[in-house]
Symmetry: C2
Subunit: 194 residues, 2 copies
């Protein structure tokens, strides 16, 4: 696999904005089976090394699961406030759920589960998201799940970028680049007008 | 028109996060004619009072114009870092371009143009966005456009929310509400599980 031309500027952005915890949040857009866009903030969980796929986690009770199963395309919009730059990554999503057949990815699903905070793991034991609010407070304080065994509804999402648009708002004029792949899947970059 | 139940919590969020300029940026997702999601950061330009429509500006040379003409649905994801809360607004977009027939909205298009900074107006006189980078620096320093006459490619975008999902990450458990409209278009709100 050729090195992706966008990995270096994205690493630099993550480094320069590291003082802000929200620099690891981005907005993921997907499409419903009816063809409408949906958009939500998710947390970047690192890369699935040695690939260029970004790791996200989700609950299989979340609406985005049905959306991705029906239509695997997504677009990430990642805005860094400190350096005032934006990355738009367009690509395909893979859902690694409890039944996903690949042993390596099951291992990565487990490692990602282990790397979560206690509070993050606990949310997967909460009542069904987006259903009418459960009044019993105690259902939001269940016993902590096993650190070594992901709950069945825990999913690893892998996002595989096909194109990346990078905009720097600083500078006059602004700078913008488009990262794409040629027929042999080699990444190249082109400067475009902002 | 009934008052929208989400206007008050959104106003509160804008007020509490006002120290950060980026609290007025949000991510707008649309769908391409091929059915793929697209997602980009845009600036909130206030409401088209007295309606509940959010104002955005765009260039008619931008890709989102063709997307919205083909498929007017969008979803805004608006994350406030200071108060750690997210609003997801799902609704329809209207493009008020230079040929839009409504006189009141043409006036609003002109007022929005007048309210922009000189730098923001100047960008509408720049070369075609996303085309190979124009090397001549002087084309990015054109004469300032007329403050009172929007350039032909300047568009006002109006976003009309149909549902709003509000999530507060602070609190244990977190709080989440869904704002919807009944058959008579009266807004109501329901607490749901986070």
């Amino acid at each position: 696999m050729s090195p992706a031309t966008w990995r270096s500027p994205l690493s630099a952005a993550l480094h320069r904005n590291r003082a802000q915890p929200e620099s690891r949040y981005f907005q993921l857009a997907t499409v419903t089976p009816e063809g409408r866009p949906q958009n939500r903030t998710v947390v970047f969980r690192g890369f699935s090394e040695p690939t260029n796929q970004l790791k996200i986690i989700t609950d299989d009770r979340s609406e985005k699961i049905a959306q991705i199963e029906h239509h695997p395309w997504g677009e990430i919009c990642w805005y860094f406030t400190q350096t005032r730059e934006q990355f738009r990554l367009s690509g395909k999503l893979t859902i690694v759920d409890q039944n996903y057949p690949d042993a390596t990815l099951q291992q990565e699903r487990q490692q990602t589960w282990q790397s979560l905070s206690d509070a993050a793991r606990l949310q997967f034991a909460w009542p069904h998201p987006a259903q009418p609010r459960t009044e019993e407070k105690e259902v939001f304080s269940p016993p902590p799940p096993d650190v070594n065994k992901p709950l069945p509804n825990f999913c690893l999402l892998l996002f595989n970028p096909e194109t990346v648009d990078h905009l720097e708002l600083r500078g006059n004029p602004q700078n913008r680049w488009q990262h794409r792949q040629d027929e042999s899947k080699t990444w190249f970059v082109e400067a475009v007008n902002p």
